[in-house]
């Protein structure tokens, strides 16, 4: 679409756990400032896809580039530095339960950027305000918060270091539709303010329609369809059609017998 190299470029990424092939040659480009949402059924390897880009899981083969740099051969210090570009919202929030909320949000600032605790605390409280949480929440511990509040704190933590690339892993799973929509709005708002590139994975189509510029569908370890969000309802791809209408009958067989 544009002349700049894509922010994230994946070519032929393959990953198998024992005999089970999870990713079978993924090709995906994400342009700078673009929001891509990967949809797909449970257990189709969406989380593995994110973890491969983050380097938490090492793919068996294939190329992953971030800003044109191959990330597969980085050592741990280079990896830490690369992670400075990333923010991630985990499916289960993954807040550090030994730390109060503000320290969770400020974690990247204090540990990775070496910021003073007091300064980091002020930024953390601002980020909490940006996701609609008052300063009194900062002193609580994650276990004292509801699921929706934990998600917001996790979002604040993901955006606290103002990363260039943000990953959202099932941002609305486990929330009621209204809180899910609140999170979607917050994601859209935060991403627009930061101008960040985002990659999200979800099976919640309402969420996908709201936060995506482009949607890609993962099935059988491959991207079987991708296109602008408006085209998803016009596509004649039977897999996508079955998925967006949530039908049990169709080309997608739910028993995982791979």
């Amino acid at each position: 679409m544009n002349s700049k190299p894509p922010k994230i470029r994946m070519r032929g990424v393959r990953k198998a756990f024992g005999p089970k092939v999870v990713l079978d040659g993924i090709d995906l480009d994400i342009a700078e400032g673009e929001s891509v949402v990967v949809i797909g059924g449970s257990g189709t390897g969406k989380s593995v896809l994110l973890k491969c880009i983050l380097g938490i899981i090492r793919p068996d083969s294939g190329l992953i580039e971030v800003d044109g740099v191959d990330v597969s051969g980085l050592n741990s210090a280079e990896r830490d530095e690369l992670m400075g570009k990333f923010g991630m919202l985990f499916q289960g929030s993954a807040l550090f339960d030994s730390l109060p909320v503000w320290e969770n949000v400020a974690f990247g600032l204090i540990q990775a950027r070496g910021m003073e605790r007091e300064a980091a605390r002020n930024i953390a409280l601002k980020k909490l305000a940006a996701v609609g949480l008052g300063p009194e929440v900062g002193a609580l511990y994650p276990a004292e918060l509801s699921g929706g509040m934990q998600k917001r704190v996790a979002l604040a933590r993901a955006i606290a270091t103002e990363p260039e690339i943000i990953f959202f892993d099932e941002p609305t799973t486990g929330l009621d539709p209204i809180m899910g929509d609140v999170i979607n709005d917050l994601i859209v708002k935060c991403v627009r303010e930061l101008g960040a590139t985002t990659l999200s994975i979800t099976h919640d189509l309402a969420s996908a329609r709201k936060i995506a510029h482009r949607i890609a569908m993962l099935h059988g370890g491959k991207i079987i369809w991708q296109g602008p969000v408006a085209e998803i309802d016009q596509t004649d791809n039977p897999y996508v059609d079955q998925f967006i209408h949530g039908r049990a009958e169709g080309p997608i067989q739910m028993q995982v017998s791979r």
Partner: protein, 268 residues
């Protein structure tokens, strides 16, 4: 020939089982060695998390004091009683003070403190890191540009290595004091004589060997707790298994290391 075939099958299956166990064992040894190597490498390369080291030191050193102190004082008391009743059979009651102090500093101080701390700290490390692992908190550290190894494992290893000798030193003193209490109050020793006898045959080497053991045990306890926690898989059950493995393996390693270090110091 057809009759022999199933028998061959049984033997081969048995051998395959033995082989698989052996290979698993080697794989574990290899993984553990790499884990230890990585941990030691991170101990000497920045960044250092001093706050975390201090927090772990307080947890291992200070909060283990009550349980280790209780263990030590009763062990010292029992030692005095037992050696008195045993040694009086050949009129060697005078050796009670020496027996108490040598047993405490060389063996019982480090080993019993090690066993207690393994139950307390090894289990808590495995459960904490294991829970962080299965709830993605370890991966979250990575995405926040923080090496989970450096953040979680290294401070615990440093704290274990440095705090166990201090704990054992305290345990030694409390144990000897327990023996003194019984010796003076129950067995009718003269306090001044008991103390003189305590230090008469005590050599620096006795204490040093005990503290060396303590450092080794502290390292092993932290290492096992972190290793099993870090590699735990599969939710609550996985964390439970990791905790069991951490405690059992550190207990066994403590007993094996205890023999090896004793041999290193005292075998002629």
């Amino acid at each position: 020939m057809t009759a022999a075939a199933p028998e061959d099958g049984v033997i081969i299956r048995m051998l395959a089982g033995v082989g698989r166990i052996f290979l698993d064992f080697l794989a574990t040894v290899g993984k553990l060695s790499m884990f230890t190597g990585r941990a030691l490498m991170h101990c000497v390369t920045p960044p250092f998390y001093f706050r975390l080291v201090v927090r772990q030191m307080v947890d291992i050193g200070y909060y283990s004091l009550p349980v280790v102190g209780m263990t030590a004082i009763f062990t010292g008391m029992v030692l005095a009683l037992q050696s008195y009743s045993g040694f009086s059979r050949f009129s060697a009651e005078g050796a009670v003070a020496t027996v108490v102090v040598l047993s405490m500093t060389r063996e019982l101080g480090p080993v019993l403190a090690g066993l207690m701390v393994a139950g307390r700290i090894g289990a808590s490390m495995a459960a904490e890191i294991g829970t962080m692992r299965v709830t993605d908190q370890v991966d979250a550290l990575t995405t926040l540009s923080t090496n989970p190894f450096k953040y979680l494992v290294t401070p615990r290893l440093i704290a274990g290595l440095t705090m166990m000798p201090l704990l054992v030193l305290v345990a030694d003193i409390i144990g000897v004091f327990g023996g003194f209490l019984i010796g003076v109050n129950k067995l009718g020793f003269n306090p001044a004589n008991y103390l003189t006898q305590t230090f008469e045959f005590l050599e620096v080497k006795d204490v040093i060997s005990g503290l060396t053991k303590a450092a080794a045990f502290g390292f092993v306890i932290s290492l096992m707790g972190c290793y099993h926690g870090y590699n735990s898989r599969g939710g609550a059950q996985g964390v439970g298994t990791a905790t069991i493995n951490a405690v059992v393996s550190s207990l066994i390693l403590i007993l094996i290391l205890n023999y090896l270090i004793t041999e290193m110091f005292f075998a002629r």
